[in-house]
């Protein structure tokens, strides 16, 4: 028998033996089969847990990356903050200016009224006289007399 015939024959014999072993392995006791099944389920659960853990790690790394990216643009953040402060300052200055202008306009109106009263022919005390006030009312109603 030469080598080329010998090797397949050896392999065939090996496979014949293991075929018998396979038959025996398929008939394991129930408790052994169940323990193997439980071990398999535990291993698959472990795999699922590893997958879940790696997914959560990826998520946390992504979040950390975003946070790091925020830190990386700190200059932009500072400019944003400076812009906001500038806008707030402009708003406050505007409100103060409006207040000052309103005060100025109110004072000017009062001054004009005072000027008109003081430069009128009638003395200011006449306006506090009840009879004169009644006279003005009646004069306005009939259109006959208009004080000037």
């Amino acid at each position: 028998m030469n080598t080329s015939e010998y090797l397949p024959a050896m392999d065939r014999f090996g496979y014949k033996i293991t075929a018998r072993l396979t038959d025996a392995a398929e008939c394991l006791p129930y408790d052994v089969s169940e323990r193997l099944r439980a071990a398999r389920v535990r291993a698959v659960d472990q795999r699922k847990w590893v997958l879940l853990q790696s997914a959560s790690e990826v998520f946390s790394h992504t979040s950390a990356g975003s946070a790091t990216a925020g830190h990386g643009n700190s200059h932009t953040a500072w400019w944003n903050r400076l812009g906001m402060a500038g806008l707030l300052l402009i708003l406050v200055v505007g409100l103060i200016a409006i207040n000052v202008i309103q005060d100025e306009l109110g004072a000017r109106e009062l001054a004009e009224i005072d000027t008109a009263i003081l430069t009128d022919d009638l003395p200011p005390a006449a306006y506090v006289d009840p009879g004169f006030a009644q006279f003005l009312k009646l004069g306005n109603r009939h259109g006959a007399v208009t004080p000037n």
Binding site: F13, L21, A24, V32, L36, R42, R47
Partner: protein
């Protein structure tokens, strides 16, 4: 990447052979179950991300290493506790592995068509298992990986951590031994 379903299918396809192979090595059902379970957990935890076609090779390697670790632990344990074993009685010594007793309790495929055939098959299986148990460990490992797990020489060499030449030698010697032993008992396959 192997999905959990693919991993489950793969483990289901190899778990019984892995158990029997480990029993042939460690000769203890409980230890074999522990080793197979540890191997499954290691595969799932550390190599589950590998493609499914790489799983058989990885699992055989893990199983071999876990079995080797078990032998190392046993060696350390025996070394540490050997002085105490001197005080044990002969009756306790009788609890050690008994090949004939183990073989007599071997499971037999249920075949009810022909009792004669069933008995002969059981006897043949017992003889085969007995001779496999008598093989040197490396020969047995190489033979079972090569012919039972249907791995080629290169894969077997990678799983065993040796050269392809060593695998061929181990397999050749194992088959010679088995052939001579079974032939001498009048068993023809």
């Amino acid at each position: 990447m192997a999905s959990p379903a693919e991993l489950s299918d793969f483990l289901k396809s190899v778990e019984k052979r892995a158990f029997k192979r480990t029993v042939y090595h460690v000769r203890n059902d409980e230890s074999a179950l522990d080793i197979v379970q540890d191997s499954m957990m290691k595969l799932a935890e550390h190599y589950g991300h590998k493609p499914s076609d790489e799983l058989p090779m990885l699992f055989q390697r893990i199983l071999s290493n876990t079995t080797l670790d078990w032998f190392r632990r046993q060696k350390v344990k025996n070394t540490l506790f050997s002085p105490f074993s001197d005080f044990q009685s002969d009756a306790e010594d009788g609890d050690e592995f008994d090949l004939l007793e183990s073989l007599s309790q071997a499971e037999v495929a249920p075949e009810f068509d022909n009792p004669q055939t069933t008995r002969e098959r059981a006897q043949t299986l017992q003889a085969i298992e007995k001779e496999i148990l008598l093989l040197p460990q490396r020969q047995r490992e190489a033979f079972l990986m090569r012919y039972w797990e249907d791995m080629d020489v290169t894969e077997t060499a990678a799983a065993m951590g040796c050269s392809t030449g060593s695998v061929k030698t181990h397999c050749s010697r194992a088959i010679h031994t088995l052939f001579q032993a079974l032939t001498s008992k009048g068993i023809k396959l």
